[in-house]
Symmetry: C2
């Protein structure tokens, strides 16, 4: 993509109305646009990051047997009344609206009820189970305060998977499979496995604990206690002597860390399936309850965390698998020879399947270098009179301070080799 065709402009200053560092950076770099507090739109750059994250998550959810669906945003009040979650006293962050007829509708904040209800059309026998179904879909939550950018939005993109199992042991087995898939996802998006902790957190009514996936980060909103040797962690909210003992942990081995939640898993028991009348007939003809679990990853939240966690003083630094493009190619000066070489390299990289932003604008070198850093793509390649005299193009990785001049063939080989998976 030529930079001149990408309609965004970068900014030197953070927008005055934005407190959160992730949103400041992403707005400055032209990835997102603020519509109102907690509500953002995505330019091509931002949308491509979201798509890259979604694709990794989709692959791992399919690998554990997940079946992708797409539920509606408009919600039938009746379903939520059945489970007692319509009333604002039970759930305090609904957006609600009304049909022309006056009937109330909800704007989807989660999908346990509609997914469970939908499955009533498809599930009746033990032969129909288990079912694992997920979606990557917008959620709407009427947060009183929305000051954390993409980390806690009023409108955000979420992957939510729901499992429907015949027995507790079938449920438990799948629960562990998803937990392993989550660790794989967080590693693939760029969090080294030594900073991601499956963390014991408060469990609600169906289990002593739920599982949170926490990334150790200076961005940290949460406090967790980690046992590095055992690779176990416990959230501050359940950090009691009783729980520590129950988990076989030792206070002396636990150190306090700041972390950010990137995913969670809850055991739901048969709360929703029973309430909505989703049951199954077992081999002996008896009606049985269905055991549910739900498994969430905030996709836009993950984008915000990746942006803020890896950024340096010059701008964004995307992990290779997530970057919207691999290379920021900049031509310097207006010499015909330079333009021609840069055009040729852009063609060659594109044909080799390397994704490139080609900064072909008539701008000063300082502007182009600043934008390359701010964009946060893995590689910067500069074409200038000087580089051509030295026999090639100047290559620099985003996180390195040194550059080297390499001829075209070698450049193509380097950039194709380290291809994103």
């Amino acid at each position: 993509m030529r930079r001149s065709q990408l309609f965004i402009k970068t900014r030197k200053e953070a927008p005055a109305d934005e407190e959160s560092k992730n949103a400041q950076l992403l707005i400055r770099a032209g990835y997102i646009h603020k519509e109102m507090a907690g509500v953002y739109s995505y330019t091509l750059l931002g949308k491509t990051v979201i798509d890259n994250l979604s694709q990794i998550i989709r692959q791992e959810m399919n690998a554990v047997g997940g079946n992708e669906v797409l539920m509606s945003t408009l919600q039938n009040k009746d379903l939520w009344e059945t489970t007692g979650r319509w009333d604002d006293k039970a759930v305090d962050n609904w957006f609600k609206s009304k049909l022309v007829s006056g009937a109330e509708v909800g704007i989807g904040l989660s999908h346990e009820e509609p997914i469970t209800n939908m499955l009533r059309s498809y599930i009746s026998s033990y032969k129909d189970l288990p079912v694992y179904t997920y979606q990557i879909q917008d959620k709407f939550r009427n947060e009183l305060r929305a000051k954390s950018g993409l980390l806690r939005g009023r409108e955000f993109l979420m992957k939510d998977l729901y499992s429907f199992s015949r027995t507790q042991s079938e449920h438990d087995k799948f629960y562990e499979k998803v937990a392993a898939a989550y660790l794989m996802i967080f590693e693939r998006v760029g969090f080294a496995d030594d900073i991601t902790y499956r963390t014991f957190a408060s469990g609600g009514i169906f289990s002593r604990f739920s599982d949170e996936f926490q990334v150790l980060s200076h961005v940290g909103e949460d406090t967790i206690y980690v046992d590095e040797a055992k690779k176990m962690a416990i959230n501050k909210e359940v950090y009691t002597d009783e729980n520590i003992e129950h988990l076989g942990l030792n206070k002396g081995q636990l150190s306090e860390k700041r972390a950010v939640e990137v995913g969670n898993i809850f055991a739901l028991g048969s709360k929703y399936s029973d309430a909505l009348g989703l049951k199954f007939t077992d081999e002996s003809g008896q009606q049985q309850s269905i055991i549910m679990g739900c498994y969430g990853i905030g996709v836009s939240r993950l984008m915000g965390l990746l942006a803020e966690h890896f950024a340096d003083e010059h701008g964004l630094v995307w992990p290779a698998n997530i970057a919207p493009y691999k290379v920021y190619l900049a031509s310097l000066g207006e010499a015909a020879e330079v333009s021609k070489a840069a055009d040729g390299l852009y063609e060659a990289l594109s044909q080799a399947g390397v994704s490139v932003i080609y900064d072909d604008r008539d701008e000063r070198p300082g502007e182009k270098f600043a934008d390359a850093d701010l964009f946060g793509l893995p590689y910067r390649v500069v074409v200038s009179q000087k580089s051509l005299e030295q026999g090639g193009f100047e290559l620099k990785s985003r996180t390195s301070t040194s550059t080297e001049v390499v001829p075209q063939e070698k450049l193509l080989s380097i950039l194709s080799d380290s291809r994103q998976d």
Copy 2:
């Protein structure tokens, strides 16, 4: 995908609460689930149809220089008040909601205002223009009646492109480019070019006509008058002697047809850009207005029309480019030999990149044949003792009544050759 992993079940009878033929069929075949009137969720089958449509539309929009974005659903009231479109008297099908603070927000029914406003951050000079930007995104419209299934939903998926041009002639040129791309899209999704008409329709305040793209169909909601020789059409709403003459048409050559609108293009002039203060500075330093156009295709509507238009008495009949899978593979009977051959064929087809639903269920042949027809995939392949005795597998295209038994190698070659583009 094994049918046993696809959690849907088909139905013999249409649901009692659904009047529309497209929704009846899609619900019976397990592609969609009704949440409420005009609101549907999509199973894996339905979502894959939506994805296939979106991908074709995306390719053609990128080919004309479109830059994909993703705008928010929650809408800032101020923007819509600025253009006079917030008041229910001006726009009568808003869904609105409220923040906890009490401030009103809109649920996006279109995106002229937020897109125009977003571009204020990026456009100031003639050098920044033209900009062509589009999204494939949910829209919400509070329709009084919603009885047409996917043809007119309260929540639906739409591709909306917006153009921002410096001059009327720059606008006109792009407008024609999109019109050509639209015809290409409708042909690629399965409507032969002799039944798709670019149709003159009422233009609003910026041009005498707008352009509708109408497909001649028994599903038809609209009445249009076509001149087959000139390949021109005019909507009943502007079918006046004056307009007929203005267009150089002759009443004697026009025949009345039923048709369904699948896309539209509107000239917007500078109504929104002027109202929201999006201007540009020209080469001589003067502030100038920006000429806008908007270009819509209802993606879920298109799915509904394709379903209803091509269906026969046995069920859905998807065009090859749109079908969620290419082959419905069914094994008949429980002989080990049959299962083994079917498993092997499933493997071989999958490895050859042919998308397959493998009906490996323990069901009667009649059930499997009925499901194969209802699903509407381009090909049915049957593995049975009989077919194996005859040296292969029974192949039938969805629209043909004849079958032939072909050996595996030939089958692979046939199904790989006619690969979807």
